[in-house]
Amino acid sequence: MIKINTIIIDDDELLIMIMKKMLVKSNFYDSPIAFENGEPALDNLKLNYNADEFYVIFLDINMPVMDGWEFLNHASKFVLPTNTLLYIVTSSTDQADIEKSKHYELVTEFLSKPVYVDKLLKIKDIVAERVSQVES
């Protein structure tokens, strides 16, 4: 059984709390890890990233210290799109940001805050499908 890591990167504590509750309600995998901006998230990944595990990352864009784009620049160097689903989660979405995100193979989709249970259930389905592909 492949290990599934859920990572939330957001500087808004309350939104992390909401996100966590939504994840619980949708019976998402093991408890998520949250980071307040891109830097600690990147440090953690550098240490613990394992190509044999699966990753679901919810990434905010506007954050202090290291924003979502910078995180993507660094993470793209070693995080593989084959074992990762990365969702950019923002409070409001600019068309220019969507265009920009197309340059990153790692980005799966743009989501608008808050992310509701029904969306998480759909993501769960995708994860399950992807994991089964990797396993077989």
Binding site: D12, L14, L15, I18, M19, K25, T90, S91, S92, K113
Partner: protein, 341 residues
Amino acid sequence: MKKDKELFNILVVEDNQGDFLLVNEFLYEFIQSPKIIQAKSFSEAKNIIEDNQIPIDLILLDLTLPDKQGVPLIQEMMLLAPQIPVVILTGFSDLSFAVKTLSLGIADYLLKDDLNAILLYKSIKYNIERNRNMMSIKNSEEKYSDLFHLSPQPMWMCDFETLQMTEVNKAAIQYYQFTEAEFLSMTMKEIVPAEDLNDLVDEMTALKNQNLSFSQRVYRHLKKDGTILFVDVRLNVLKLKNKNVMIVLANDITERIHYVEAIEAQNEKLHKIAWTQSHVVRAPLARIMGLINLMSDDDDATSPDEKKELLKHIINSAHELDYIVKDIIDQSQNIIPTTKQ
């Protein structure tokens, strides 16, 4: 033949009473009620004309008056009444002299010996009519000239090939602050900044190559003191005395351009504010939406204490949203255009 009912005021300058009576009689033959004024000398005629009581339509002039005769008489008379046709009556039959008088501006030359009523009437009628037409042409020419010179819009004429200025109106002088003499010593290139000269060359080339007679584009022009003006320049190429000339109309749009620039800058500011605000506003709103969603679930997974906690967060986020909206209102007060004059 019916008598002419038109009113004619005719000044007969004739010192010979017999000749005067004869002319008088001829005049009445074809004219219903001619107003005939007699002057017996040049000075008498001069007084009547200068007095200006009666608008004189035509002068019948004898060439041998007691105080003036011949060419000097004609010359003085032309100076005195350049707008009134003068018909010479003379007993002096000399074709070369007659031709000479015509070149001095005389309307007609009649020999007293050959004179009859119909000849006199025809000459009078024809010359008055012709004079009226000439006057109206002159008036309309003046009107057109005024249209150019008194137009409130800067205009000038220049040679199509050399761009040498040939005529310039008052508005242009006022606007560009060059004197008329300065203007007329310049070409159109001299009011265009050096870095924009290619635009002018391109426009002229396009006119020539495509054989167009009209063109329009916006230029930067230089005032005498070096100030840059934005002008909408419209020009027409036309043939005048076998030369291609251009009539150029320059419409000042400096203020308009500045105004548009100010509006664009303001729009940019507004765009930025709208964008950042939508982000800032959306953050607490997203929280509220998420929290309400969590609270409104039917399942009993959320304990009453937890719900209280969630409600507290909703209230805090609502306050934050309220504060942000107030801030936006304050900020939008600052975008009122500053360039308004």
